[in-house]
């Protein structure tokens, strides 16, 4: 039915575009009927901006009356075609879409699709004649917020309130997520800049205190020698810390080069890098045949290197024996690095992955508590998990997973 309803984007406000319909819009509802404002904003009734997908003026009037009687100060625009609808949602802000399910040229569910394409989160409530349960369920599945039968319009205000509450929750959640992501990015940026820019002055401190030590050792007094030694030691330690922090922040900043990676080769590189530590610690590293995985090879080297390096460092009374293995579990490869070292107390098995967390004094074990947090970051960036099972004095088994993926085409 072509009627004098919205002729296009220009015929926006129903109060002007629908001259046949009386008192639509902001005319206050009788006090007694009002169930109170739908959304409180400074105590005043909040305006409800509605976009209706409807071609029947009488239905428009009924719907608006139902809302008005419930205390909504309502303004409404009308769209009868997909084009009108798209133009309107692009141009104006709406709180809710009330859509008839069946119009001659399109159906209300198409508005859900339009909103999705436009990236708009506006709840769509289907206001329709008999819909049939199956259709209704299908519409909700496809993204409609609710449906209200035209002969049960009394339900509409509550449906609107609920849809708007849910939208607000979604919006809050999205904002919280965005805020979290932004703050993580900022933190990473800060870590990067700080560690990068700290390196330069630190280099001056380290080299010149070393020069002092070299040139004036034994020429001042014994206190001076000791103080210079403290300064050199502190500078070198801070240098290592800054470098590790930089490595940590780089894991997120630099993209991953995901490709089919032979983890046997990865392990060999890690062992080569650890050659001195393995030799000095008298460590034996055994490994089974390891799979090819889709991963960033150099990052995976870091994971193995840190895990095996730790296994050597935290050895027990026996020379370290480390076993590296892998198996399929569900849709993941589960890698394990088992050692016979000092183990970790149960209360600390989660702490070990926290950045800067050290469980021992510097006199007992060197290190700055970044290694395992780098492992965690790398593994999680690959879509996997990392955890440890351990008994004090009986060694630890570190596990990490890498999802099984199709090999990307070269």
């Amino acid at each position: 039915m072509q009627c004098e309803l919205g002729q296009g984007p220009e015929a926006l406000q129903t109060s002007s575009g629908l001259s046949a319909l009386p008192s639509i819009g902001s005319a206050g509802a009788p006090e007694g009927v009002s169930k109170g404002p739908p959304e409180e904003a400074n105590g005043s009734t909040k305006r409800l901006r509605v976009l209706m997908v409807e071609d029947e003026p009488a239905d428009v009037e009924l719907v608006l009356r139902a809302l008005r009687q419930a205390g909504f100060e309502t303004t409404a625009d009308i769209a009868q075609t997909g084009k009108e609808f798209t133009d309107l949602v692009r141009k104006n802000l709406y709180d809710v879409i009330l859509a008839d399910y069946k119009l001659p040229n399109w159906n209300g569910m198409e508005s859900v699709e339009v909103l999705r394409q436009e990236g708009l989160d506006i709840p769509v409530i289907l206001v329709s004649g008999a819909l049939g349960e199956q259709t209704a369920v299908e519409c909700i599945k496809q993204g409609a917020a609710d449906y209200v039968l035209k002969d049960h319009l009394a339900r509409l205000p509550e449906a609107v309130r609920r849809a708007m509450r849910e939208r607000k929750l979604r919006e809050d959640h999205r904002q919280a997520q965005e805020e979290l992501a932004r703050s993580n990015r900022d933190l990473e940026q800060f870590a990067y800049v700080a560690s990068h820019d700290l390196q330069e002055p630190l280099r001056m401190v380290a080299t010149y205190t070393q020069l002092l030590a070299e040139r004036y050792k034994g020429k001042l007094d014994s206190d001076a020698d000791k103080y210079i030694h403290y300064a050199v030691d502190g500078a070198l330690r801070m240098q290592k810390l800054v470098q590790d922090l930089l490595a940590f922040s780089r894991v997120g900043r630099q993209g991953m080069a995901l490709e089919s990676t032979d983890s046997n080769a990865v392990l060999q590189v890690a062992l080569l890098n650890l050659e001195a530590a393995i030799r000095e610690g008298g460590a034996i590293v055994e490994h089974a045949q390891l799979p090819a995985v889709v991963a960033d090879g150099s990052q995976l080297v870091q994971v193995f290197q840190n895990l095996i390096g730790n296994a050597i460092k935290f050895h027990g009374s026996e020379p370290p024996v480390i076993q590296v293995a892998a198996g399929v579990k569900g849709k993941e490869w589960v890698f394990s690095v088992a050692d016979n070292g000092i183990g970790i107390a149960p209360e600390n098995v989660d702490n070990v992955f926290v950045i800067f967390r050290r469980l021992h004094t510097r006199a007992e074990y060197s290190g700055n508590g970044i290694g395992l947090s780098i492992c965690k970051k790398i593994v999680e960036q690959h879509g996997g998990r990392i955890w440890v099972e351990s008994r004090p004095d009986h060694g630890s088994i570190f596990y990490f997973t890498i999802p099984i993926k199709a090999i990307p085409k070269q």
Binding site: M204, T207, Q210
Partner: protein, 146 residues
């Protein structure tokens, strides 16, 4: 008689110039280090402009990348595009480890790219081997008479 090798060091950090000079002063060969603090000075030195009219032709340029006014890459491209200067080996000596800096430097004709080490033993080793290699072992084109 063999003349004393001339090094031009371009660096805005006086601590690095001092340290490098210290290290070179301890080596057996007697290097002479000429130091300038920015890119404009470096180009004036190389082209013997203004107060550098009597400057020696360097046998080696040790060039930092991050310089005020004219950065190291521009100095480098100036040297390598000038037929009179292009034969002088240029060693980039910087804290930057960025791939972009490394590849850009070599593209512009840097003869070598070295990172400034963060501790003294490595710093000494790097500066000594750099000087030994470029001013000792490397065979370079003859200086043109000027």
């Amino acid at each position: 008689m063999k003349t004393q090798p001339e090094i031009l060091m371009v660096d805005d950090n006086p601590a690095d110039i001092d340290l490098t000079s210290e290290v070179l002063a301890q080596s057996k060969a007697h290097f002479h280090v000429n130091a300038v603090n920015d890119g404009v000075e470096a180009i004036s030195f190389l082209r013997r402009l203004g107060k550098y009219a009597q400057a020696p032709v360097p046998d080696l340029v040790v060039l930092d990348l991050n310089l005020p006014h004219i950065d190291g890459c521009e100095v480098l491209s100036n040297i390598k595009s000038d037929p009179a200067l292009a034969r002088i080996p240029v060693v980039i000596f910087t804290t930057s480890q960025a791939d972009s800096d490394i590849s850009r430097s070599y593209k512009l004709g840097a003869n070598c790219y070295l990172r400034k080490p963060g501790n003294l033993p490595e710093f000494v080793a790097v500066v000594q081997s750099m000087a030994e290699f470029w001013l000792g072992f490397a065979i370079l084109p003859q200086k043109e008479k000027r």
